[in-house]
Chain length 332, copies 2
């Protein structure tokens, strides 16, 4: 009788084992059928910038990390500490040697990095560019701001702030292509869409607070009725705001600036700067990693062989920051 | 002694049960931690086009389906059978009523669909546009070909085919914006980069095979040394090819056409058309669904509140099809 008990117990035990094992196996099957987009945690994607310490990159890196977390892969953040081309090339060479799953790079120079970028692509490493392009390289995509469009948006905001009438001016850095494009978009839009408005001056602020302040002082002197000034970069915006504040007239011209560093946000908050243009930096990081993942996992193998595997160019968008939404933009 | 055996067996059995259960639990934990991007199969994303039957949409739909499969969600394909604005509006209204997880739409008209698109967005349904934009609508993104860039690429290919010298011409549809942009990109590139080349004629082929053929006959008559003709759309390319073939001169002008319908591919294969520009249609569909998924799953909640949740504009890219790679482009 006791032997039969042992046999019963063994049979019951094995049956339970069988049920449990079946349960775990069917979980595996379900996971397989509906796996979703998911990589391995030892798949490492590297973000490379220059001037690594500045606030500007934080939101791009956050996007890069958010995408990595969503896709179950790892990230590393590298770059040069200064605006140093040779240092960025050296860092990139070191990264290539480790053969990561993909590299997203903001190019410090549109030409000088091309050879190293091509070396990575030729070694089979997916590469995309973000924020600053290297148009002649073999990188698969560029994700960044359409600077001309951002100038259009600034002009529309300026028209709103000035009731679509009066004289306006621009303080920019004419020899830098992204700033020239912002200016072009602004000028073309004012001219085409706002007949009661006129751009009376375009000054060179050299991307510098002091020079931009001087430019603004000249504008205030030459055009006492000036209704608005657009600064195409952040240092310039702060300089222009200083000039306007010290000028102390009753009807202050409206100022529109660019980017969302703390100094600019503080001036938006206190009203010295009416609006600033925020770039879609989170999108740059998030979709850079998505594109690299897609390239690395041959997501496009099902498609027609010769087609571009990821989009060639992505305009990551612009939003307008005013005192009403400025609190959202302070780094958390 | 036998009682002790039973106790031993029970202990061993429970230990095995414990190990197995732990194993299945830890799988669940791992699945949670590293879930990847994954939706539910009852999450339905709808692609909407016009002229549903034509080959042109096949590759976009394939991209849309590939992304849905990767993300474990469902798709539906809807649209108007003809180029009928009212039909597309009606279909869109029906889709909105069913509250799908997202809608990717190729707008038959840049303005007339705006109200209906906005209705969808206001109802909380993510909407992106692909291939044909409705720039004034509230849709979150546009994914399509940068037509100016495609004209630049056509000019570069034409320069390669003609050894960068000689007279060239364009047959286009001047009153359609995308064709005007293709022409602009072509003209600007020839003028800027190829001093030994000259665009001697830009003719209106009206998007029609017969008219384009007549235009090409006029070009062949007026410019007997013509080295190349760029047709900015597929019907025109076939018409131009007919004119050149019947003209029967020894040194035939090189023809570059647009898109990859079967008629065009056949002429590329037999050499009548030297190259045709293929749009990144798979990218349009694949990344439309990725963007809709991202919008629907609030992938951007971690980011700064005011930033654009997905990129505003995506250039899905262009590839050049010649007899060397033409076989890849036939619909499978």
């Amino acid at each position: 009788m006791k032997k039969i008990w042992i046999v019963y117990l063994l049979l019951i035990g094995f049956f339970l084992l069988y049920v449990l094992d079946y349960r775990s196996q069917s979980q595996l099957n379900e996971q397989w059928k509906t796996a979703g987009l998911r990589g391995e945690i030892d798949e490492k994607y590297v973000m490379v910038t220059f001037q690594m310490g500045i606030d500007y990159w934080k939101s791009s890196l956050k996007g890069f990390e958010d995408a990595a977390q969503a896709l179950n892969v790892s990230v590393e953040y590298r770059g040069s500490t200064q605006r140093d081309i040779h240092e960025q090339i050296t860092v990139l060479e070191q990264i290539i040697a480790k053969r990561p799953a993909g590299i997203a790079i903001s190019a410090i120079h549109p030409v000088d990095l091309t050879e190293t970028i091509n070396k990575a692509v030729d070694a089979g490493i997916p590469v995309v560019l973000f924020d600053s392009d290297a148009p002649g390289s073999k990188a698969y995509s560029f994700l960044g701001t359409n600077n001309y469009s951002s100038g259009v948006r600034a002009a529309q905001k300026m028209a709103e702030l000035t009731n679509e009438s009066g004289q306006v001016a621009v303080v920019t850095t004419p020899n830098q292509q992204n700033h020239q494009e912002r200016t072009d978009g602004f000028l073309a839009t004012i001219q085409r869409d706002y007949p009661e408005m006129k751009v009376v001056a375009v000054k060179n602020g050299k991307g510098d607070q002091i020079y931009s302040r001087q430019s603004a002082e000249e504008i205030l002197q030459d055009y006492p009725d000036i209704a608005g000034i657009f600064a195409t970069e952040a240092n310039g915006g702060i300089g222009v705001a200083e000039a306007v504040r010290e000028n102390g007239r009753d009807q202050r011209p409206k100022i529109i600036s660019f980017d969302t560093d703390k100094g600019t946000l503080d001036l938006v908050k206190n009203g010295d700067i009416s609006a600033t243009m925020a770039q879609g930096t989170w999108n740059m990081g998030y979709w850079s990693l998505q594109f690299l993942f897609s390239l690395g996992h041959d997501r496009n193998t099902a498609q027609i062989a010769g087609m571009p595997p990821v989009p060639e160019q992505v305009d990551t968008g612009i939003t307008v920051v005013t005192r009403h939404n400025v609190d959202d933009y302070y780094a958390k």
